[in-house]
């Protein structure tokens, strides 16, 4: 596929469970972003990777959130001990390099019950 893909598309977790959300960026894209979009809100920045290096994690809301991109391609956003306030759509975006157009994936809708 030519676009950004994310899996799973939907995830229901019980409060306290750990979840892992996957992002497959466009092949060759150096930059990768994670955003969190709460219901009725605009996306909010979580973290940014340039290749495998996490250069900005200032938007991660707590130390329960962890992201990695070990080989500079696929990225995983992990949320430990999920809370109800973590319910949101998590969007991944990639770009050829910093400053180029960001292409978004379809998102993962996380519901914490």
């Amino acid at each position: 596929g030519a676009g950004v893909s994310q899996s799973p598309r939907y995830k229901v977790a019980k409060r306290g469970q750990d979840v892992a959300l996957r992002c497959d960026p466009i092949s060759g894209h150096v930059s990768l972003f994670w955003y969190q979009q709460a219901l009725g809100q605009g996306p909010e920045f979580l973290t940014y990777f340039q290749n495998e290096a996490q250069l900005d994690k200032s938007g991660l809301p707590s130390d329960r959130f962890f992201a990695e991109r070990p080989e500079g391609s696929v990225s995983t956003l992990k949320i430990q001990r999920t809370q109800q306030e973590d319910s949101a759509v998590y969007l991944c975006a990639s770009s050829f390099a910093a400053g180029y157009e960001q292409y978004f994936g379809p998102g993962t809708r996380l519901t914490v019950t």
Partner: protein, 117 residues
């Protein structure tokens, strides 16, 4: 910190008519980029149009155009000859010039556009 404000939660337009979505932003930077993104229901966010702050000329992409007022920090989107497929959430977004590190987008809260027959 930069902020982006969209004061119209919902807008409605008749097919073939023109509609304008408003956006204001706050920044102390002199150079930056502004964007309008479209997010159809259950579909991916796509870029509609972008504007570089250093360019005085307003950007245009087919039926989509912007009115960029740098001094007023205003960036509105005009959709001409509206089509049913234009129905979506529209987000205004801001980005600083890339310095090689983060080029994250700051989004507004969105405007839901309905297109009626």
């Amino acid at each position: 910190a930069q902020t982006v404000t969209q004061s119209q939660p919902e807008m409605s337009v008749q097919e073939a008519e023109t509609v304008t979505l408003s956006c204001t932003y706050d920044t102390s930077e002199s150079d930056y980029y502004l964007f309008w993104y479209k997010q159809p229901p259950s579909r991916q966010m796509i870029l509609v149009i972008r504007q570089e702050a250093y360019k005085q000329q307003n950007a245009t992409e087919n039926r989509f155009s912007v009115n960029f007022q740098k001094a007023a920090k205003s960036f509105s989107l005009k959709i001409s000859d509206s089509q049913l497929g234009d129905a979506a959430m529209y987000f205004c977004a801001y980005r600083r010039p890339s310095t090689g590190t983060a080029s994250k987008l700051t989004f507004g809260t969105g405007t839901r556009l309905q297109v009626t027959l």
